[in-house]
């Protein structure tokens, strides 16, 4: 196979990459403007808007809320998804496909419908506008992501591994701890990351459930641009982009990003 791309292919890729990256780059540059409106920092860069961001109580608390919500939700989703995936992949039982469809259904239902439904339901049971309410709704919509990656990991395991462990005298719990869990760990981890990102990113549904006292970062950002567009928004975006890139680099160093996102589990790390 020749590894060379033709001229047009290269041109297309270049234009495509520019098209995708340009807005992000522009936002990052704009964040450094010293002016009071969205503009390029032609008179030299300034950290004015980052300072403003740090002093903005609403944004800081929303950022913390989003981090906490994403972490708790993704962790709970992973804890739910592991046994569910094992049941679905490894066992035959009545209602197996129904269970799978049920777990995957939040992907099909429009977020806005979920938002309205959760708004009503959570206030009915007295959890409206609380962290618990947010966690419940987020766990439900992000579980499919973890479930999918764990099911992929499990599906690529040789089912004889469990039997082999059993024949060597290993009971079910030991086999899970020493064989299954280490082998599906990459799937759990990549699922967790996907779930966290989805939780952190979710606006459509959350906007219905969040309360003035407890709002996630993207919702706060939405509400903020409703009345004012100033470089603070660009500063928030820049912080998020930098954090995302940092996270990617760390994950890639630790586990290999391709492997995680594709969800295979060649346990290549020779520890």
């Amino acid at each position: 196979m020749s590894g060379r791309n033709g001229f047009w292919a290269l041109l297309f890729h270049t234009v495509f990459v520019i098209f995708v990256l340009a807005p992000i780059v522009v936002v990052c540059v704009v964040a450094f403007t010293p002016e009071g409106y969205l503009s390029l920092p032609v008179n030299g860069p300034s950290l004015r808007w980052f300072e403003a961001l740090l002093n903005n109580r609403d944004f800081v608390s929303s950022f913390q809320a989003s981090l906490l919500l994403g972490t708790i939700s993704a962790t709970l989703a992973a804890l739910i998804a592991v046994p569910t995936a094992i049941a679905i992949v490894r066992h035959e039982f009545p209602g197996r496909t129904a269970l799978l469809s049920l777990c995957m259904s939040p992907l099909m239902v429009p977020s806005i419908v979920l938002g309205v439904a959760f708004l009503r339901f959570l206030s009915q049971i007295g959890l409206g506008g609380t962290m618990v309410g947010l966690v419940i709704s987020h766990v439900i919509i992000i579980t499919p992501f973890v479930l999918r990656t764990i099911m992929n990991s499990l599906g690529s395991l040789d089912s004889a591994l469990d039997n082999a462990a059993a024949s060597l005298g290993s009971d079910g719990m030991t086999t899970f701890r020493r064989i299954t869990l280490p082998l599906i760990a990459p799937g759990i981890l990549s699922g967790w990351v996907l779930a966290f990102i989805n939780s952190f990113d979710e606006v459509t549904m959350t906007i219905f459930i969040a309360s003035p006292g407890l709002t996630t970062l993207p919702v706060r950002l939405m509400l903020y641009i409703e009345d004012s567009i100033d470089p603070l928004v660009a500063a928030v975006s820049t912080v998020l982009i930098v954090l995302a890139v940092l996270a990617m680099v760390i994950l890639d160093r630790l586990f290999g990003l391709d492997r995680m996102l594709i969800g295979t589990n060649d346990a290549d790390k020779d520890k």
């Binding site: 060597l168 005298g169 009971d171």
Partner: protein, 358 residues
Amino acid sequence: MSPVTKADNTPSASFLAIDGLTKTYNKVTVVDRFALEVEEGEFVSLLGPSGCGKTTTLQMLGGFVDPSAGSIRLEGRDLIAAPPSKRGLGMVFQSYALFPHMTAAQNIAYGLEVRKVPRAERDERVRQALDLVGLGAYGDRYPRRMSGGQQQRVALARALVIRPRVLLLDEPLSNLDANLREEMQIELRRIQQTTGTTTILVTHDQTEAMALSDRIVLMRAGRIEQIGGPEAVYARPANSFVARFLGKTNLFPGTVGADGRSISIGSHVFAAPAAATPGATIVAVRPEKLGFGEGGIRGVVRNRVFQGTQWLVELDTEHGPAIVQRQNLGAVPPAIGEATGLVFEPDAVHLMAPEADK
């Protein structure tokens, strides 16, 4: 080992006693009243075409499939009640099922770790097991960095290191290429004889079964067709299925004379090797026991293949197709299209009851 005395089952004297073992899935019987007694140290093969129930039988022994009926006793102890992890049997899987996140040594040590064997003894036994399978220098390798044959050896060492009462092998050589398979057959036999472990092998390869086993259990459609030593089963197959499955054979329809002392195939009459029951019979003659000559069964050569050490000749005879194998001692067999007679020593034949096939 306390003898178990259940009202419905007399404790058997043999090492491993399987009786009436049956597995039914949705009214389809895949294993039908399998019964076998195995002596300690014996190497027994379950041989048959795919779908004959041999693998299901092995999985019932291993505890991975629950029998519908029957009993399995190891040294008088009822095995069926025990989960796989408590049976103390070693198993080598067709896929080897090595733990990919563990090195060869860690794989082998696993069974000892869950048994809580002390560290020093564990290391020593792992080392011995690696040496036994000729992988002394490969303990730190991960399975994916090993060849199929090496993985196979690790799987074998892992199963043997726990000193199992019985070793179960599920088509362990089927994923290896032909040369390696032959090498591993010899190796497997050597290791089995060194350790003296009672072994049950499942295979669909008759040469493998004959090369390795003390006894062969031939299965078809869930039932045992014949049990016996390799030479005995080859020389005296119980029926035409067994005869055909264990290598090539010629089957001629024949009749045993009223006195039970002579056999006729068409016009060719010869003395019976032993007293036989008068009436219709099937005369089986192995290809290597047929020769060319005057008289005998008349036939025309359809095809002739030279294979170096031997000639393979296919003929059409008045009693159906025949195949002849002649060792290459210099004589050239009849050419294609030539008419010839097929002769054999009277004691080269084996008589079988006509197939009661439905």
